[in-house]
């Protein structure tokens, strides 16, 4: 292919992406504008919180426990070289509440709940359920999209908190129960070192942002999916890939602002 052709294709790709970002932003704006129903009729949102949040609990809790256990092993291995294995509790807790809790929980949430939201909305579109709703004078963005969006925003920080809590328990089981780090030192150093505003609140802020990002991408991809079997499958894949990348990129930006004082 000629250089001009290559440039043309590259240009088309870039402008295509920017168009799509514009569409997605308008869609987010519409979702926020039509959120009245989701907040007024709380049972709609609660039902979605059950599907996105409660049904994601198992994967989040089990993953949290294992991540905490691995942190316990790896952390002990490193810390004992410097003779500070009592600081294991601090290491486990800080890694979890600052980074691993929000980020890993969000990645799991994107693949468990985000993909389900996209597939559900995409299939509703493919089977004309959204069209039918529109023809019944019910706005699908208000009735279908907004409750799922808000459910994601609410569920995510709760899931991240549970992930961190189970992680700490995992770290405790391995560090204290298995390896034999002093129990008092494990808990007291953790209590002394973890700052509520600096560490926990920043973690919560992160998980709220990740929840909004994942939910936004999931509902948009579902609503914008081509109404065919392949279209829905592509949209579901895009949700997982795009939200995973977006979570990691947003994590870097948020971390830079929160902990380095830029």
């Amino acid at each position: 292919m000629s250089l001009a052709g290559l440039l043309r294709r590259l240009g088309a790709q870039v402008t295509g992406r920017i168009w799509r970002l514009g569409f997605a932003s308008r869609f987010l704006l519409m979702t926020l504008l039509y959120s009245g129903m989701a907040l007024r009729r709380l049972q709609l949102t609660l039902r979605e919180i059950y599907f996105t949040g409660v049904l994601s609990l198992i994967i989040i809790l089990v993953s949290g426990l294992f991540v905490g256990m691995v942190l316990g092993l790896q952390g002990y291995d490193t810390l004992q070289r410097y003779g500070s294995s009592e600081a294991l509790g601090v290491l486990v807790a800080l890694s979890l509440v600052r980074e691993l809790g929000p980020v890993v929980a969000a990645l799991l949430f994107a693949s468990r709940a985000g993909s389900a939201i996209t597939a559900e909305i995409g299939l509703m579109k493919a089977t004309e359920q959204l069209s039918a709703m529109e023809m019944m004078a019910v706005n699908p963005i208000a009735r279908v999209v907004a409750p799922r969006f808000w459910a994601g925003v609410v569920s995510m920080p709760l899931l991240a908190a549970l992930f961190s809590a189970l992680g700490v328990i995992g770290g405790y089981l391995v560090g204290v129960r298995l390896i034999g780090v002093d129990e008092g030192a494990f808990w007291s150093q953790m209590q002394a070192a973890v700052d509520f505003r600096q560490d926990i609140m920043n973690g919560v802020i992160k998980s709220v942002v990740f929840g909004a990002i994942v939910s936004w991408i999931a509902v948009f991809e579902g609503y914008d999916a081509e109404p065919t079997a392949e279209g829905v499958s592509r949209a579901t894949t895009r949700t997982v890939v795009t939200s995973s990348l977006a979570i990691l990129a947003a994590d870097f930006v948020l971390t830079a602002f929160m902990f380095r004082g830029i």
Partner: protein, 261 residues
């Protein structure tokens, strides 16, 4: 036909980008009648229905429903108008996460503050009209295709609409009972000719014939004849435009043109 039609379509044209779907279509649907829009697949039937429902905007021309120009309405006006319409989709489009009962109650719950006891009676009345009162606890996945369409019809008439779209004997009965007007979009010719009052025949974006069911049945216009009598080939070709068959079979690279010689 009556002087004040419920749906009045004038010089309607519609195109997706540059692909023209409808060109200068005129259709009038009088109150209380069942009117069919027929034609081969891809001729613009469903597009016409979507234009009436305001899901698409015309490139030119107007669609007037109950005296209002549909594409000039704002969102609130359009939704107000749609509350008076019932639309039945080809495959029912039932909400798969709700039971039959909740599907029919959906629109009533969304648009009214009626107490649940009254909604219960209303839902059972609508289901009784389509013969599926006993199925109100089932989920859409448990219904057969025909049952799903009947439930969808019950849902479409939940708010006693002015217009609906369906194939089947049921609408004739329900249309007359409710005093509604119906638009039937179909390619099921013989079944529909039994129930409709008037037929519009669309081909390649134009109305090519119109008349009462009897007139259409007797029509000698080639398009109509081919369609009504189900002939595979005719003015509407069976084959999508393609190069000659033999030439294309032999045009495969690497295939010897005359391997036997």
């Amino acid at each position: 036909m009556s002087a004040e039609p419920l749906v009045d379509i004038r010089d309607l044209s519609f195109a997706y980008d540059r692909r023209v779907i409808l060109a200068g279509v005129n259709i009038r649907i009088p109150r209380g009648k069942v009117v069919a829009i027929m034609g081969p697949s891809g001729c613009g039937k469903t597009t016409t229905l979507r234009l009436i429902g305001g899901q698409l905007k015309p490139t030119s021309g107007t669609v007037r429903v109950a005296g209002e120009v549909v594409h000039e309405l704002d969102d609130a006006g359009l939704y107000r108008l749609r509350r008076r319409m019932g639309m039945l989709f080809q495959f029912g489009a039932l909400f798969t996460d709700m039971s039959v009962y909740d599907n029919i109650a959906f629109q009533v719950r969304e648009h009214t503050d009626l107490p649940e006891e009254l909604i219960h009676d209303l839902v059972l009345m609508k289901l009784n009209a389509v013969g599926l009162r006993g199925a109100h606890r089932l989920m859409p996945a448990e219904l057969s295709g025909g049952m799903a369409r009947r439930v969808a019809l019950a849902r479409a008439i939940a708010l006693d609409p002015i217009s609906l779209s369906i194939v089947g004997q049921l609408i004739r009965t329900l249309n007359d009972a409710l005093g509604a007007s119906s638009i039937v979009v179909t390619h099921d010719v013989h079944e529909s000719l039994k129930i409709v009052d008037y037929v519009y025949f669309v081909s390649e974006g134009h109305i090519v014939a119109e008349g009462s069911a009897e007139e259409i049945r007797k029509s000698v216009a080639p398009y109509v004849h081919q369609f009504v009598w189900g002939e595979a080939d005719g003015p509407v070709p069976f084959h999508y435009p393609a190069p000659p068959y033999g030439e294309e079979l032999m045009a495969q690279p690497g295939r010897p043109r005359e391997w036997w010689s």
